[in-house]
C-alpha cells in the first residue's frame, strides 16, 4: 500500500506560496474604466452592459438545475436583463454551475475563449470554489480561478436562486464600477493560465496561437 500524506492545515510557507499563486491576477489590464477614470461614454455603456447580461449557462454540474428556477416565473431573472444565450458568441456571462471535471474544463476553456470581450464568469457552488465534496476526486478541478479568471463566486451547495440572483447583482455592481470582465487580462496572462491548464489537460490539442 502506498504512503498517504494528508493535507492538514497549511504551513506558513504554503500559505505564502499560495498568496503568490492566488493573488488576484486580473487587476488593471481589463479594467480600463474603473470608477474613477471612466468617462461618460463608458459610464453609459457600462450601464447597458450591466442591465443586459446574456448568460451562457454551461450546465457543468448539478447546479444547472437551479438555472431554470432562476429564469422562470418564480424568481424571474429576466427583470434584471438576464437572459439565456445559445452560443458563446452571443454570451456575456459564463455560468459555471457546480463541479468541473477535467474533461469538462477543456470545453469550458474553449467556450470562455470563444466569448467576446467584455466577458464575465460567475462560478457557482462550493465545488467550483474549492472542490467541495470532490476535494479528493481524481478528475475534478479544485479551484476554478487557476484556469480561467472568475469575477463572482456564489457559495453554497447548492446556492438557492436567491443567492444566484444576488451573485448577478454583485456582478452588476462590479460592471458598474468597471471592475468586471477579465478577457484582456486573461490574454495578457495567458502563459500562466496555459501552464495551469496544460497541467490538468494532458493531451493539449488547442492551436498554439491564441486565435479565438
Amino acid at each position: 500500500m502506498s504512503e498517504i500524506k494528508t493535507l492538514g492545515i497549511p504551513t506558513p510557507e504554503e500559505i505564502k506560496q499560495a498568496q503568490i499563486d492566488f493573488a488576484p491576477r486580473c487587476t488593471s489590464a481589463g479594467r480600463v474604466n474603473d470608477k474613477e477614470t471612466q468617462g461618460t461614454v463608458e459610464y453609459i455603456l457600462n450601464f447597458a452592459r450591466k442591465h443586459s447580461l446574456f448568460v451562457m449557462a454551461y450546465g457543468t454540474g448539478c447546479g444547472a438545475i437551479e438555472i431554470p428556477a432562476t429564469m422562470t416565473s418564480r424568481y424571474d431573472a429576466e427583470r434584471f436583463g438576464i437572459r439565456g444565450a445559445a452560443t458563446p458568441r452571443q454570451a456575456d456571462v459564463l455560468l459555471i454551475t457546480g463541479y468541473l471535471a477535467t474533461k469538462t474544463l477543456k470545453r469550458v476553456i474553449r467556450v470562455y475563449e470563444q466569448m467576446q470581450d467584455p466577458k464575465y464568469v460567475i462560478a457557482f457552488g462550493s465545488c467550483a470554489i474549492n472542490g467541495g465534496m470532490y476535494f479528493d476526486s481524481y478528475n475534478t478541478i479544485k479551484a476554478l480561478d487557476r484556469y480561467i479568471p472568475v469575477d463572482v463566486y456564489i457559495a453554497g451547495c447548492m446556492p438557492r436562486p436567491e443567492s444566484v440572483i444576488n451573485g448577478f447583482v454583485k456582478l452588476q455592481e462590479l460592471i458598474k464600477n468597471g471592475n468586471a470582465g477579465n478577457g484582456e487580462a486573461y490574454r495578457e496572462d495567458l502563459d500562466w493560465y496555459r501552464k495551469n491548464q496544460q497541467k490538468v489537460i494532458k493531451n493539449w490539442d488547442f492551436p498554439d496561437k491564441y486565435n479565438w
Binding site: 455603456l45 442591465h51 443586459s52 416565473s73 427583470r79 445559445a86 458568441r89 454570451a91 467576446q116 470581450d117
Partner: protein
Amino acid sequence: MEGILFKILGAFLTAILAFVVGMFYGGLRRKVTARVQNRVGPPVHQNFLDLMKLQSKRTNIAHGFMGHLAPVWIIIAAITVLMFIPILHGDLWFNNLTMKGDLIFLLYMMVFGSLGMALGAGQTGNPNSAMGVSRGLAQLAGFEIPFMLSLIALMLQFKTTSISELMQVQESGSWIIVQNPFAFIAALLASLGMFRYSPFDIVGAPAELASGPRSEFGGKYLGTMMTGGAVFAFIKLVMYVDLFLGGAGNNNLEGIAGTALGLVELLVKTFLLYMIPVFIGLVSPRFRTEQAIQFFWKWPTFFGLLAIGWALYKNGTF
C-alpha cells in the same frame, strides 16, 4: 434642392421611427410574454440596452467576408423595403420612394435579407447554422404561397400592383379587411411564419439548434442584425396595416398635428396587429419544419384561393 433635402431628412426620420418603434415592440413582446407567464419581465426599453451592449463589445470575430457581410444584407433589405412602403398617407416626411416600387418588388426584396444572412451563416461552417438555413428556406417556401395568393387577390380585385394605390382605394371605400376578408386571413396566417415566433420558430430554436443561423454571430454583427430585425418587424406590420387596415394618417388635419395623429393611429393599428402573432406564439408549442410547411399549404392556401375567387367575383370576372 430643397425637395431633395426634405427627402433625405424624411428618409432619416422614417428609418429612426422604424427602428425605435421596432425595438420598443420587441421590448413589449418580452414584457407581454413575461406578464402572461406571471413574471415581472424586463423593462420595455430592454432591447435598446441589449443592442447598446452588443455594439459596445470590445472584440468581434468574423468567419470571412460573407460572414462579415451577413448583417449588411439584412440592413439593406430592411432600409430598402422601408423606403418603398408608405408609412403615412401622403405625408411630407414619410413619403419616401413609395410610388417607385410595387408589390412584386417588395415581395422579392423582403427575402433579400434572409438570403444574404443565410450566406453569411453558411460561411461560418457551423452545422447548426446550415441546418437553420435549410429549415428557414423550406419554411419560406411554405408561407410565401398563401401570402402571394393573398397579394394576387388584392391586385386582381383593385387592378393595381402598387401599395400606395391600394391605400388610396381604402381611403375612399372601406378597408380591405372588409372588402376581401379571406385575403386578410391568408396573409395573417402567413405572417405567423414571417415573424418566426412559435409555433414556427424551429429555424432558430435556441436549445435545439443553438439559435440556428445566428449561432456564430456576436457583438456588432448580432447587434446590427437585431437592428435590421427590429426595422423589419415594423415594416411587416406597416405593410399589413397599409394593405388591409386602411393605412394611417388618413385625416383632415393640417401640418404637424395631422402627422402626429397619423402616427398615433399607425402605432395603435400596428400594435394590435403585432399582438396576434405574439399571443399565438405564447400559447403554441413548436412545429417541425414539414408540419409547418404542410400547415401553410393547407388552410392558409385554401383561404388564399378563396380570396382570389372572392376578388374575381367582386371585380366582375365572373
